[in-house]
Amino acid sequence: MGTNISEEEQRALFIKQCSIPEKKMVCEVPVFCRSVDLVEYDKINNMITSIEFKTNNWRRAIEQVLSTSISFDYAEICVRRPKKSESIGRIVEECASHGIGVYFFDVENRKFEHSLEPKKIGRTWIVQKMQVIDYLEGVTCE
């Protein structure tokens, strides 16, 4: 199987494999001056999670979720699983320090592993969160 996969393809695969009916998945959600790759909307519990996809640049993914974090309840990143376990450890450690969840994408067998659960963001601003939810109510991701 080819190992070249774009972030968009990675996201599309994620949606296919990880979606559940209880949660609405919306792509490219505009928040502040950015576009959040994917937002998971748990309507029952009124929780929203941002997920940034990167093939390799996990630091950038962390930077991006942190910049919009006040608009969400949870933040996660999804990156390619590095080959070295030290690299895996570094990513998990860094994300854990911020309370960010981690999905690793195994390029070989095209599967996702949820390696770290996110912690509830303690600095969500309800006003901004409601703006995001208003947007989500109006759109769908195909």
Partner: protein, 454 residues
Amino acid sequence: MNDIIKMLRYNTGTDKKAFIEFKNYFDAVIFNATIVAYSGSAVADLVSVYKNQYIIDPQTHIMQHSIDAVMSKSKNNESGSIKKSVKQYLEQMPNKILEIMETEQRNLEYTEICSIIDELVEKVYIFETEYVSKYVKKKEYDKYLEYANIKISPRLLIAPYFMLKKDMDKACRDNYLKLNVECLKKFIVYNNEHKKKPIAAQLVMDSHLLNDREVIDNLVKIYNIDGFEYIFIWIDDFSPWNASMTKKETFVSLIEGLNKIGKKPLMAYGGYDSILLCHSESKARMYGVAQSVGYGEKRAITPVGGGLPVNKYYFGPLHKRIKLDEAFNILIDNGYLDSNRSGAERANDFYRKICHCPQCKAIIKDNIDNFASYNESIPYLVKGRYGDINRNRPTSDANFIAARHFLYYKCREWEELNQKTIKELIEELILNYKQYGDKNSQKEIVEWCDLIGR
């Protein structure tokens, strides 16, 4: 503070409302010559409001840049034509300029500029002193101005100038430096024979040149001539706060050097970094700063253009415009958006510590959550790598309130020069950056403050 000139730059029609509202707060309004040529009627309206406090930047450097910088973009990517505003201005200048730029589609060479210097000086002078009056005469209110004996006249005149570029070798740079001073001398002579207005030189250069103290010392020597009082400084995309230590030091020595030869530096595109230097106790003393309505505190000389419009807010304690997500993060980290306290209590804290301007009070009222209005935006589609992406852009209301707040805060910055010592202002700046800034900018601010006399 009578020797200071607080200036506002006019760029587009959307600035007009703010310009008129703040007319009593600023001393002069600056227009780029291309805007005057293109929008003479709108400029005349603003000039009549500001009366004899307008300044025209002759932008003579445009003839030395690559022709691409002045071409309009054509839809099918073929070579376009010169932008209308530029063409209309160049039609007022020596014919040779437009002939070369339009017909031969290139910038002018040094020798070609030298050959038209006398005519250039005359035409620039006439443009700055008479062009706007022609439009005022066509207006209804001209008879009222005449009745009240109010004559429309510029605050000061800027001599033709050319940019010192980083890719010039020493000989070329020296040539352009001499050309600048030659234009200045001829402009002074012409002025003495005509309207006898205050004269300004304009120094336009790549920030790279601040790495060489010798270049700057030489420059100060060359400008040590009589007949002009002011010198505008425009350094490409430069703000001293986030420049290297070498550039910071050389910039300060440039200002000090100009002070020593009796010249009054004005920052053509400056922020609080320059306003602070206008304090009477500043050892590197500036005498005025210009910026646009809500932006323009630094600017690239050949505009890059483009970029997606984003909501920004001038965060007063940091004295800089930041994106709304940064602003919200700062407010949340400092407890302003903490719902455990009442919105009213947090609003009062905001007024005490962040901003109490009429615009912020009108928006926030007694509930800090209303601050979200500065982030009012509408989604639109942008072409991404893999298809269309949704982004937010500010509504025109959000742009307007952000601009008003910006101008109110600018007024406050100017007022505080009279109310506090420079030491007090510097200490306040450092404390604010400790409270609200990131580690990198805290370090840069301390470096700058140590340099200017902490």
